[in-house]
Symmetry: C2
Subunit: 574 residues, 2 copies
């Protein structure tokens, strides 16, 4: 029984100055976590219990699915990460250090390499597969902007699983088993979530989905089709635009467009000098960027921004992406800033990408690659040909669902899980092969599956808390029942203790506010802030042989006779 | 149920090349741990289960004692450790790193500072105390010589508790409560151990005891009195030598002792030229050392080495200790190497320490501080006076117990727990005070209490394993019962599975060897190597309706009817 008279807990009346989101604010105020450094938190007793409840649910579901738990160190030697290039690729997000002999180590941000090597060390035959192994462990990422308390931390608890299969069909099955286990997990955690298509990004691999917990303050943006249920991270949203019909489009015509280096100024001049009805959507943006040191051009309709995060995720393997600066233009004197058109970009040795909205056969107004000159009737496929199409333009609410063309909704969420089909990237790099049925060596194909365990605590808090405090699902709460004893007599305190003991005897965990000096008002406020699902008040009603039972989530109150209290509370928790 | 047909496990026939001790050898061979780097190990499924069993016993005992669990990050900012000087004091044993902004961090080797700050953040009154909080967490120490597998690792799991009290009497009580909880813990873990007096060393503080698990390959040496039970780490062993009687000792006499720079050569010359019967015990060694850059002299009887580790632990707060080198002698030209005596050491501004065996009033042969000259009848208190007495001479089997003068035994052990009365060192440095009953600010007094959790796994293995494998106590083993199905028919496999299911239904964990391709011999060897306490063979005896039940620890075998098997096995485990 958690007795508040001795519990290591001080709730705070005021919001912490650095807290932007509800979960952060409330977890600090209710005495669950404390900040140690940017993105680094300690857990007080209530936080430890809650975190462990979440951890245990995840562990049980993993075990239930037949995945086996292992445990890796967080401190890892450089070699394997060097082999897969991630020692470099992670850039400043990786915590690197040296030991006393000067050997390089890192703090594991994720353990693909180590799991691959572990399986390589033990297994050698197709008969050993499939295998899924996991760990629950502290991970380290030196985030540029750690924020939102434990939602984006630099040290955090993660459950990471990895599957190993002999072939793609096996990987599909392992992926599905993880997907199912995740659904069970998040259902038990009492979370609302959507499973959305994702770009697998720096992890490599093919198929990838995210589990997103909708939340107004979430960092992730995703699209959802209200009709067919299509859901995707904005980075992974697919744009389907029909090809244009270039027949009947006049030949490319150069126009005199003085002082029109921006889309807005161009549209104004076009409408004034070259006929009416032009909008930004008729123009073509030529965005010059530097991707890992190499110049690239990206085409998008003039009425849409290029979404750099979306573009970068789709430019697989690019670690640094930025727009051209003056110095870059200086290196490419043939690019006329403000008047660039795709007509000659490729001739300059620059890769030309187009957003799918710049569909084949479509006709555009764009730069003429001469100062103060633009061109119209510039047709994709006739006057320029992109090297490749890439999702780059921003996604907007109301865009068309790629599956059913319904207008999509855009929402925000916290990423709580991510499942990947890695394929053979890591097994290839680290040489993990097994003998197949014919005695032939086959590279193993892998999946990687993560759940943010500490983040899930915050995400649940975001989804369930209200203006007065935390409000946990029963399986997550530090205790199922929070008994408040009030008054100055011994009777309510003795009665509360007996009731607590009786509840614990039938397996219902109890937190008991047995503080003698705190007022009833302070105790109620603390109970609401701490967020256990059932609050029982043992006080005035005792004169009638009753206790008051409150449901934290609904605010429902009722008086129950003391004799029936255990049964009534147990029924409420069912 | 752990089924070996799918368990992620490969046992090894051969000992790993780098394994020196039984626990390391067997934990690797039986597939519990794998080496990642020096002193850094991963845990395979059997290891995870065993480690968690140990962890849970410790957690239960801590909770039972009323200690509350919290959790700190391993990645910690430099500041607090700077304040207590441990950022420097830890020297190369501390893993240090910088984040992307260049801020200094460390990987926590132990968390005194952080716990002190946590309590400071929450508590402010004597009414809040006493408080004991703990965590179970990965710790990091860059050991100069990581060895013996998980016994001395660089990343390891530790349970560390800290107590907070308003006064010394409270600290005594908290210390005793931890001591009691540790006794319960180690008893439940099925370990043999001794509680020995220890020097608190770099941790500061006063009272300190170690829990040592006797083990021939242990790194720690301790003394034990077979009569009164006195036990101490050799570093903490106290020497009680009666004062000498200087009355009647002639005046100091200088002697001509050419070519006698060593004790041996001196004794030979003394016996030849100055009467017979001299031994090394009559001579006095003057050991010149450098302690944190400062020269010191230490006196010890000529027949005993100075134990540098023992000396350093007793020289509280000294981080680097080494014997004089040529360069040091060059800086002190008045010290005549080979002929130093304590008569003029203090005049040279050098602190003079004496081992207690160089008792007041005792008379010695020692150097005369002149080349080729010694002196006899050199009396402590008359011809020289030590600045302080310090335990420095080596401890030997047969030395006198300081409590009852019986001859002590010397044994080796693994340190599995350590309890300290820290006192106010950290609270002073980090300004942790509370108001007392009179509203006066009082610095809190602290205790620090550690258990090596991952090390305990190895220590239990060391104490219980035998030549054929591991041999766990039931509460620690990956499973309580290891069922081996043998033969080629389905019957034994089906029967074994049913038996396993029945056992698990009554809460007895089961590992089932259901491999179809492995021979009975391989399965028996694996069962013995893995070390679950009860081995049940479902095979030939089935023809008579029996199974064979083996007790791993004793080798006892008996046939039990299948119908009675569950009852019989449950009885054996009681």
């Amino acid at each position: 029984m958690l007795k508040m008279s001795t519990l290591f807990l001080r709730t705070l009346r005021d919001d912490p100055a650095d807290a932007e989101v509800a979960s952060h604010r409330l977890l600090v105020r209710a005495g669950y976590i404390r900040r140690i450094a940017a993105g680094i938190y300690s857990w007080l007793p209530l936080g430890v219990i809650t975190l462990r409840n979440v951890e245990n649910i995840i562990r049980q579901e993993m075990d239930q699915a037949g995945f086996q738990e292992v445990h890796f160190p967080a401190l890892l030697p450089r070699e394997a990460y060097e082999t897969t290039n991630r020692w470099q690729d992670y850039g400043p997000s990786l915590f690197r250090l040296q030991d006393r002999r000067g050997a390089d180590y890192l703090l594991g941000p994720t353990h693909e390499e180590m799991f691959t090597l572990m399986v390589k060390g033990e297994y050698s035959s197709y008969k050993d597969l499939p295998l899924s192994i996991y760990q629950i462990q502290s991970k380290y990422r030196d985030e540029a902007r750690p924020r939102s308390g434990i939602i984006r931390g630099r040290e955090f608890v993660m459950k990471d699983s990895y599957s190993f299969d002999i072939d793609d069909a096996g990987l599909d099955l392992s992926y599905q088993r993880h997907r199912d286990a995740y659904i069970s997990c998040f259902n038990r955690l009492g979370m609302k979530y959507n499973i959305v298509k994702a770009v697998s990004g720096a992890m490599g691999g093919s198929k990838s989905e995210e589990f997103l917990a909708p939340c107004a303050t979430g960092e992730d943006t995703y699209v959802l089709c209200p009709k067919c249920g299509y859901a995707a991270n904005v980075e992974a949203m697919i744009t389907k635009v029909p090809a244009g019909d270039p027949k009947g489009v006049p030949a490319l015509e150069e126009l005199d467009t003085p002082n029109t280096p921006t889309i807005d100024s161009l549209v104004t001049v076009m409408n004034k000098n070259f006929g009416g009805g032009y909008t930004a959507a008729d123009t073509l943006k030529n965005i010059m960027l530097v991707a890992d040191g190499k110049a690239i051009a990206v085409l998008a309709p003039g009425d849409r921004e290029v979404d750099l995060k979306r573009l970068q995720e789709n430019l697989r393997g690019v670690h640094e992406l930025r727009v051209f600066e003056e110095a870059d233009f200086a290196k490419h004197p043939k690019l006329v800033k403000g008047y660039i058109g795709p007509q000659n970009v490729k001739a300059l040795g620059i890769t030309l990408y187009a957003d799918p909205r710049v569909a084949p056969g479509t006709s555009w107004i764009t730069g003429a690659n001469k100062k103060n000159r633009h061109a119209r009737f510039v047709v994709n496929g006739r006057d320029f040909t992109p090297d490749a199409y890439i999702e780059a333009a921003e996604v907007r609410e109301g865009d068309s669902c790629p599956e059913c063309a319904t207008e999509i909704i855009i929402d925000r969420a916290i990423e709580i899980g991510h499942i990947f089909q890695l394929g053979r990237k890591y097994a290839d790099a680290l040489n993990l092969s097994v003998l197949d049925q014919n005695g032939k060596s086959q590279v193993v194909t892998m999946g990687s599956y993560g759940i943010g365990v500490s983040r899930a605590v915050a995400a649940i808090a975001e989804q369930t808390s209200d203006e007065i405090g935390l409000n946990w699902p029963a399986e997550i709460a530090p205790a199922k029942v929070h008994i408040v004893a009030t008054g100055k007599e011994n009777l309510p305190f003795d009665t509360a203790l007996t009731l607590g003991t009786d509840l614990e005897a039938i397996g219902i965990s109890v937190m008991l506010d047995d503080r003698r000096e705190a007022s009833a008002g302070v105790k109620f406020k603390d109970a609401e802030l701490i967020g256990n699902p059932i609050i029982v008040v043992v006080g005035k009603a005792l004169a009638d042989g009753n206790v008051e039972v409150r449901v934290r989530a609904t605010g429902d109150k009722s008086e129950v006779s003391l004799a029936n209290a255990v049964t009534a509370i147990a029924a409420l928790l069912k």
